[in-house]
């Protein structure tokens, strides 16, 4: 079992995120009490501490807040923080794009079907 699978097994509160994403649905955790979205998803709202949180469909749209190209990796890749249209900023990868095209402020969209170890699908983005 991969360490990532082990990590997911430790977090029953976010199980639905991964199963939904694998089927092409990107969801965010929202709070019914303060009506704000947060990242990373959790059962208890990090803004107002309410336990009244729920999954809601997300637009999958965002802009690059910052990024770097990991050039010493065996396969160089782009890591980024993306600010989602719904508000929160999340860590992710920018895939399927020339490194030279990646820049802060550029619009991005979720890229479904990006599987890693154990068939787990990761929420990654591509230039829109």
């Amino acid at each position: 079992m991969s360490v990532l699978r082990e990590a997911l097994d430790h977090q029953p509160e976010t199980k639905a995120f991964w199963s939904e994403l694998a089927e092409g649905r990107f969801k965010l955790r929202h709070c019914r009490a303060c009506e704000r979205a947060h990242w990373y998803p959790r059962a208890i709202c990090p803004h107002c501490a309410s336990p009244e949180t729920e999954w809601r469909p997300a637009s999958g749209q965002g802009t690059i807040y910052s990024y770097s190209i990991a050039r010493t990796a065996a396969q160089p890749f782009a890591i980024a923080y993306v600010t989602l249209a719904e508000g929160p900023t999340m860590m992710t990868n920018i895939v399927g794009s020339d490194f030279a095209e990646i820049a802060i402020g550029k619009p991005v969209e979720i890229a479904f079907g990006h599987q890693v170890e154990d068939g787990i699908t990761l929420p990654v983005f591509r230039l829109a």
Binding site: H10, H38, P46, S66, M91, I120
Partner: protein
């Protein structure tokens, strides 16, 4: 309760080795402990408080207290990464002021070079039990690329340049050339940094700290004991600590926990950045120094790049001498944790015992600051302000 004037640093010792294949981790901790005690003129049986971070072998203080055969009535193993030891001096001063111990020992040691810990793309020792693990590690997050994202954002918002980042390394190399124990002693130019390998945009290889074996220790005690000893008096004036995190997704990579720990330390000390003659500032990467100098108030937010440029961190040349031992960029970064060396060089400066080529004239107030953990996700900040009495 304030710790201002309640405790003194009376012993400081940095291990001379930068590679120690023939010494155990416990042995390195013991050697720096005994070195600091000898510097203070105290013995191990005087120690009744022990402070350590996540670099000790075993669980918290147990194994090292056992190895050294200490008899302690106070112990603290708070772990905020490389900044832990600066925090420990704060906690030691609090414990002393509260009567919980009289002579506090703080140690850091490690042998990552001898143990073959990979450099550069070093991954955090994150646990899959952490709630944040699945949201960061799968994206290939390393210490290097997260700090690189902080640098990229700083350049975007404030116009900071790779040349300005490079000046931090250039200053460190100017200091390290005078330190016979430094791991890297060659002078480096801005062009050398910019021509070194681009490892994670915008950071080059020479923007990154070294990884070394070794360690250091300090001894903190109450005023009555400090005055009986023969060493110059280094009084603790103020300290602060803070934790910064991802705030539910409200990410702002342009500042660190130092914004809060620095303000608390200056308030407790009753001093301002203009009073500081020398600063030890954690230099895991060149960008770390720039962000922290801003957060500590040495310049306005966004001005850090211009502040460090043109040799302004070089002793005898610049406006604020920083890391005159060569820092973690050139001198020493044992266990990837530089906190203790930050305190030790500040103590040398206050005592007038720094290398003559880098000694700051009339150095009466010094600051040591660290960032432990990840600047771009979760980290601790610890600030310590000291005065030569």
């Amino acid at each position: 309760m304030s710790i201002n004037g309640q405790a003194y640093i009376v012993g400081a010792y940095e291990h001379p080795l930068r590679k120690a294949p023939d010494k155990s981790l416990a042995q390195l901790h013991a050697e720096v402990a005994l070195g600091a005690l000898a510097d203070a003129g105290l013995s191990k049986d005087d120690v009744d408080g022990y402070f350590c971070g996540g670099d000790v072998p075993g669980t918290g203080p147990f194994s090292m207290v056992d190895y050294l055969n200490l008899k302690v009535r106070h112990a603290d193993s708070t772990n905020i990464g490389g900044a832990s030891y600066i925090l420990h001096v704060n906690h030691a001063a609090q414990a002393i002021a509260a009567g919980k111990c009289d002579v506090a020992l703080v140690t850091l040691a490690g042998r990552p070079r001898s143990e073959g810990v990979p450099k550069g793309g070093l991954k955090r020792a994150d646990s899959p039990v952490q709630p944040d693990y699945a949201w960061e590690t799968p994206f290939g997050m390393t210490i290097l690329n997260v700090y690189a994202m902080c640098a990229m954002r700083h350049m975007h918002e404030f116009g900071t340049t790779p040349e300005q980042l490079a000046w931090v390394k250039v200053a460190a190399s100017h200091h390290a050339q005078h330190n016979p124990n430094a791991m890297l002693r060659d002078l480096v130019t801005v062009d050398d940094v910019l021509n070194s390998t681009l490892v994670a945009d915008p950071l080059h290889k020479l923007d990154c700290c070294i990884v070394s074996d070794g360690g250091g220790a300090v001894i903190v005690t109450r005023p009555e004991i400090a005055r009986q000893l023969k060493r110059p008096l280094v009084k603790i004036r103020g300290a602060g600590e803070a934790v910064k995190h991802t705030a539910g997704g409200a990410i702002d990579l342009t500042y660190s926990a130092g914004r809060f720990s620095g303000a608390a330390a200056f308030a407790e000390a009753g001093l301002t950045p203009a009073d500081v003659k020398y600063a030890s500032v954690y230099d895991s990467f060149t960008i770390t120094v720039i962000v922290q100098l801003e957060d500590l108030g040495f310049c306005a937010k966004g001005e850090g790049g211009r502040f460090v440029a043109d040799g302004n961190l070089i002793a005898g040349v610049g406006r604020l001498p920083v890391n005159t031992d060569g820092g973690g960029l050139c001198n020493n970064h044992p266990f990837n944790r530089g906190g203790i060396t930050k305190i030790i060089e500040a103590v040398r400066q206050l005592r007038g015992e720094a290398h003559p080529a880098v000694q700051v004239a009339n150095c009466d107030i010094a600051l040591a600051h660290g960032t432990g953990g990840m600047l771009g996700t979760r980290h601790g900040g610890a600030t310590l302000i000291m005065e030569r009495e």
